[in-house]
């Protein structure tokens, strides 16, 4: 039965120290979550979540680029009509649409990746959420009942102003 603790910090330095201490004490990244009403910039290596957005965007772009080129090639040859002496399929003319579709693919995959990676469309667990107060950083820790005191101590020593049990 997990216990959730929420620690309240006034600025990012004590929060960083707390995260580092908790990690060295054996807490994993999945046990930690930081809540705030604006983005907090932690130093590198402290709270890095796995990120695949760039790769997804590139992948989405290439996919739609190939789809667009293939689609245009197929449809123009399916019912070829001579217009103005122009070739039925040429990269010059279709390049514009291919480019737009490439960008479209990148845009859609970026958005889809955002929705997935942020967890907005993933099934949510029933873990309790701290009430976010403006200009504060809330660090939520999931710990086993026997780890509660240790986590408490670490966070207080790091500089938390208040620790509540959710």
């Amino acid at each position: 039965m997990s216990v959730y603790l929420s620690a309240d910090f006034a600025s990012v330095e004590p929060a960083t120290k707390a995260v580092r201490d908790l990690k060295s004490h054996g807490f994993g990244l999945d046990d930690l979550a930081v809540y705030s009403d604006e983005p907090i910039l932690f130093p590198r290596g402290v709270l890095d979540r796995p990120r695949h957005m760039s790769l997804t965007a590139v992948f989405g772009a290439i996919t739609l680029m190939l789809v667009a080129t293939g689609f245009i090639y197929f449809t123009q040859h399916n019912y070829p009509l001579i217009t103005g002496g122009m070739p039925i399929f040429s990269f010059w003319a279709t390049g514009i649409i291919t480019y737009e579709f490439t960008m479209f693919g990148a845009i859609l995959s970026t958005f889809a990746c955002f929705l997935w990676e942020s967890g907005l469309i993933r099934k949510r667990d029933s873990a309790p959420l701290p009430r976010i107060r403006p200009e504060r950083i809330h660090l939520r820790v999931r710990c086993n009942p026997d780890q509660t005191d240790a986590a408490n101590q670490l966070m207080l020593r790091a500089g938390a102003s208040e620790i509540t049990r959710l």
Binding site: L81, I82, T83, G84, G85, M86, A93
Partner: protein, 233 residues
């Protein structure tokens, strides 16, 4: 090569030195192709439809004025600039070199009209009307266009088709001069000649190859298939 199987390539030659500017071709085209009738108000607004029109050019100063008449119709270009810009393929080149306009496919963007350097494309801004009794003399071989659709000279494709079908039924090739669009048929000066440019013996091919022959706005590279013959320019 069996003449019955040769691919046709329709073209026209117009002898400007014979043209008197009588505009019988214009009237004949109206009658043959069910062109909508305009009124003075529409004409003032630039909404008339004349698949063939006679442009008049004046040269010189009075009293040494020379008037040149030039019947301008769709030039049926080989590299037609109007064709690639249509988003729905409502205009394209068929196997016989005709620039065909598909009325029921036209969405009405009018890009083709902008791109035609000869301004031979006409848009139906309203549904065409024929005041009585003109509606009784419509040609049943030619479809009536609706409002919002582009139209232009077709080299009287209905006559081409009819003659080709007749020739096929009779198991012979189409003879030179057998097909005459309404304009060529009605010209009293016999200034307009229509025929198969693929046939080197046809009258139109010989006229097209004459020293007096040139094409309109040739420098644009549209490769029109209407040849104008005139002594000098």
């Amino acid at each position: 090569m069996d003449t019955a199987e040769r691919q046709h390539r329709w073209g026209m030659a117009i002898d400007l030195d014979r043209c008197t500017g009588c505009q019988a071709c214009v009237v004949a085209c109206h009658a043959e192709n069910n062109l909508p009738v305009s009124d003075p108000k529409s004409a003032a607004k630039g909404r008339t439809v004349h698949w063939i029109r006679v442009d008049r050019y004046y040269d010189g100063v009075f009293p040494d004025v020379r008037e040149k008449h030039m019947p301008v119709l769709c030039q049926q270009c080989d590299d037609a600039p109007c064709e690639p810009v249509c988003p729905v393929y409502a205009t394209y080149e068929n196997e016989e070199g005709l620039n065909v306009q598909v009325y029921n496919r036209c969405v009405g963007t009018r890009y083709c009209a902008n791109n035609c350097p000869y301004q031979v494309r006409f848009f139906n801004f309203f549904a065409p009307e024929w005041p009585e009794p003109l509606a009784l003399q419509l040609n049943p071989d030619v479809s009536i266009r609706m409002g919002g659709v582009m139209e232009k000279c077709t080299f009287c494709i209905q006559r081409i088709k009819r003659t080709k079908n007749d020739a096929k039924d009779e198991n012979r090739a189409v003879a030179d001069g057998e097909i005459q669009p309404a304009c060529a048929q009605s010209c009293p000066a016999e200034a307009m000649v229509f025929g198969d440019l693929n046939d080197p013996e046809s009258k139109v091919s010989r006229m097209a190859g004459s020293g007096r022959s040139s094409r309109l706005l040739e420098e644009l590279g549209t490769k029109p298939k209407v040849f104008y013959l005139q002594r000098g320019k």
